[in-house]
């Protein structure tokens, strides 16, 4: 059993608050990912959980046992670092058995464990090779093998894929999922790559400037982000955020003085918004470029200035005021310079408070 609970965790370096009052519950065998830009505090949080950094405030519990004062060695954790942290003067095999030797396990036991882990990660052929001769992907696999060979209760990973080429990253993502399921180990993973987070996590914890912005399952965070930052950071391309204010009849006026027309149901919601200036958010994939509109539906007049293909999907770019937004071009229609429309559904509309970033 390895539940992890963070209670008001705080860590600062001088005046800088790296981790600013974080509370979180991680279930046993769960795969959670801390996601955020550089400097948001995700790595610091991970290192506090590992015991490599001492927290300045708050508590860390493993299965309701307070571990703040325990050394990393006493927390029964394993860790995979960004730069592999492999011992360069040993070959792959010796690297993997390092933790076992440190625990003074019998050589018979050691051999059994290494064989099991090598089979799991398909490393049988690389065991005898020097670390410096291995391609980056294999190096990371060896680091992973070393971490799991001890059967830890908690597995911690600090941006393990950022140093790898795209090709290896794809392969390793599948390996991670496989390992995590096979071992049923509580896993805490840190990254700035939202694609990794979306593919691997049971739950994603979005962080910014030392605070938790939002926590949720990948699909939930993608479809229904409760915070502006979540919608911005997750998904490629990011959500469209259009600054606007209420117009007549429950429609809204955007920057550049364009009017977005809403269906009756949405108009009611708009009338309930109490603040003057707010943000209209919708994902580009849910803005459909169309030649025609339904009078009672949601629509906006746009002029597509160019098209872009991102991740095999065709998007069109249009301006509202000084800002560029994206919409979905189905069947790669040619945009022309004529004004057309983008239409969208009620459920995909989200309004945010520009100050707090929270949903309205």
């Amino acid at each position: 059993m390895a539940r992890i609970r963070l209670e008001n965790l705080k860590k600062h370096y001088g005046k800088v608050k790296a981790v600013d009052d974080i509370s979180l519950d991680i279930q046993d065998k769960e795969f959670v990912i801390f996601l955020g830009p550089s400097g948001c505090g995700k790595t610091t949080t991970l290192r506090c959980i590992a015991g490599l950094e001492a927290a300045n405030g708050g508590n860390i519990f493993f299965d309701e046992k307070r571990v703040n004062d325990l050394e990393p060695a006493d927390r029964n954790i394993a860790m995979v670092f960004q730069f592999y942290a492999l011992y360069p003067h040993l070959n792959a095999y010796k690297n993997i058995i390092f933790p076992l030797k440190a625990e003074k396990m019998s050589s018979h036991e050691i051999k059994k464990k290494v064989m099991w882990v090598a089979e799991l990660l398909r490393l049988e052929h690389t065991l005898n090779r020097k670390i410096s001769e291995l391609p980056d992907g294999d190096k990371q696999k060896v680091a992973l093998a070393r971490a799991i060979v001890r059967n830890p209760e908690v597995l911690l990973l600090d941006e393990p894929l950022s140093a790898l080429d795209e090709k290896f990253r794809e392969q390793m993502r599948i390996e991670f999922l496989k390992i995590q399921k096979a071992l049923s180990v509580t896993t805490v993973y840190v990254t700035h790559d939202q694609r990794e987070a979306m593919t691997l996590a049971d739950r994603i914890i979005v962080m910014k400037e030392g605070k938790i912005i939002e926590v949720g399952e990948p699909e939930k965070l993608y479809e229904e982000p409760k915070n502006l930052f979540t919608g911005y950071f997750i998904g490629s391309p990011g959500m469209n955020f259009i600054a606007c204010r209420a117009g007549e009849e429950g429609n809204i006026i955007t920057e550049g003085n364009a009017t977005i027309h809403f269906s009756k149901a949405v108009q009611k919601k708009v009338k309930d918004i109490s603040i003057e200036k707010f943000i209209f958010g919708i994902r580009p994939e849910y803005l459909y470029f169309s030649k025609t509109i339904m009078k009672e539906g949601n629509y906006l007049k746009v002029k597509i200035i160019n098209q872009e293909t991102i991740q095999q999907i065709q998007y069109g770019n249009f301006y509202l005021g000084n800002n560029l937004y994206k919409c979905l071009m189905q069947d790669s229609e040619s945009a022309g310079s004529v004004e057309r429309y983008v239409v969208f559904h009620d459920e995909k509309i989200r309004f945010y408070d520009p100050e707090s970033g929270e949903i309205l």
């Binding site: 590992a50 490599l52 050394e71 990393p72 060695a73 954790i77 394993a78 860790m79 670092f81 730069f83 942290a85 011992y87 360069p88 003067h89 390092f98 933790p99 440190a102 625990e103 410096s132 070393r146 001890r150």
Partner: protein, 301 residues
């Protein structure tokens, strides 16, 4: 830039290059190349600087005389004993102290500076004041040994064995800082995350030291060893001022004997032969160590 301008500029560059080179070349020629060639030349003559008149070419006679003299071998054995003991102690002590100084503590920088000071002194100065410290009657060493610890007074520079150890102590005092400096540099270049990974893997401090620190710093440590060995083999200043080669000729290193031959007896030719023999030995020793160094560097890459 057009091609024409480039050609003018390139020509100017070439001239500047040569202008900077020739002072260094002249120094190399006169201060290194010439003396060295003359050294080898004179070693084949019974040349004496004081009486240059009867100089005769004697071929390898100087070398044969030196190498067949049992006195020579006694001196070599003493020098090897001294070098082996002194350098080993400095090596181990240096590594241990450097390891202790690795951790951050208040006043670390000050301690570091103090620890490095002995190295900055002249060997002659070091020899002189250790000679006073080792004085049997009123030296401070015997003060501690006799008055504080209650042992008999030690005749530091009086007996053969004692004077060997006295020299080793003085030499270690002066040169351990060198080992500390290089070891510290080697230790700090090891990436911290290797230790973190080892911590997570539950390695004890001893395990970390022997399995991470030592293997990864081995190339620089061996380099330091090479420096110290080469230097210790040539030991003269310290012996000259501390013991004067005594008692008798008990602490005469090979270098000291060379000095006597060339500047007391003025057998310049024979002295040159001595110098050359010493050179060959040092080259031999260093080559072996450099091979080890290369092997270790390769393994660590």
């Amino acid at each position: 830039m057009t091609n024409l301008e480039y050609i003018k500029y390139a020509r100017k560059e070439k001239l500047i290059k040569y202008f900077f080179l020739w002072p260094a070349l002249i120094i190399l020629l006169f201060l290194i190349a010439y003396p060295f060639i003359m050294l080898i030349y004179y070693s084949f003559f019974n040349f004496s600087f004081l009486r240059p008149v009867n100089t005769k070419f004697i071929g390898f006679k100087n070398y044969v005389n030196i190498l067949t003299d049992t006195y020579t071998w006694e001196r070599f054995i003493f020098t090897f004993k001294y070098v082996a003991l002194a350098v080993s102690i400095q090596f181990i002590l240096g590594i241990l102290i450097a390891h202790l100084l690795q951790s951050e503590f208040r006043g670390r920088e000050a301690v570091f500076t103090i620890v490095l000071m002995p190295m900055m002194l002249c060997p002659v100065v070091v020899g002189l004041f250790w000679k006073y410290m080792f004085n049997t009657e009123w030296g401070i060493m015997n003060y501690f040994v006799h008055n504080v610890l209650g042992f008999n007074q030690v005749e530091w520079l009086g007996t053969e064995r004692n004077s060997l150890w006295a020299t080793i102590i003085a030499d270690t005092w002066m040169w351990t800082p060198f080992m500390i400096l290089l070891s510290s540099a080697a230790f700090s270049s090891i990436p911290k995350y290797l230790y973190e990974a080892a911590s997570v893997d539950r390695a004890s401090n001893f395990f970390k030291f022997t399995n991470i620190t030592l293997p990864l710093s081995a190339p620089i440590l061996i380099l330091a060893l090479i420096f110290r060995l080469m230097d210790a083999m040539k030991q003269f200043d310290l012996v000259y001022t501390l013991t004067g080669g005594g008692p008798g000729d008990a602490t005469q290193t090979v270098s000291f004997t060379l000095y006597k031959t060339a500047f007391q007896y003025f057998y310049t030719g024979e002295g040159s032969a001595w110098a050359f023999i010493l050179l060959i030995i040092i080259i031999g020793l260093s080559s072996i160590l450099i091979k080890i160094l290369n092997y270790l560097s390769e393994r660590n890459r």
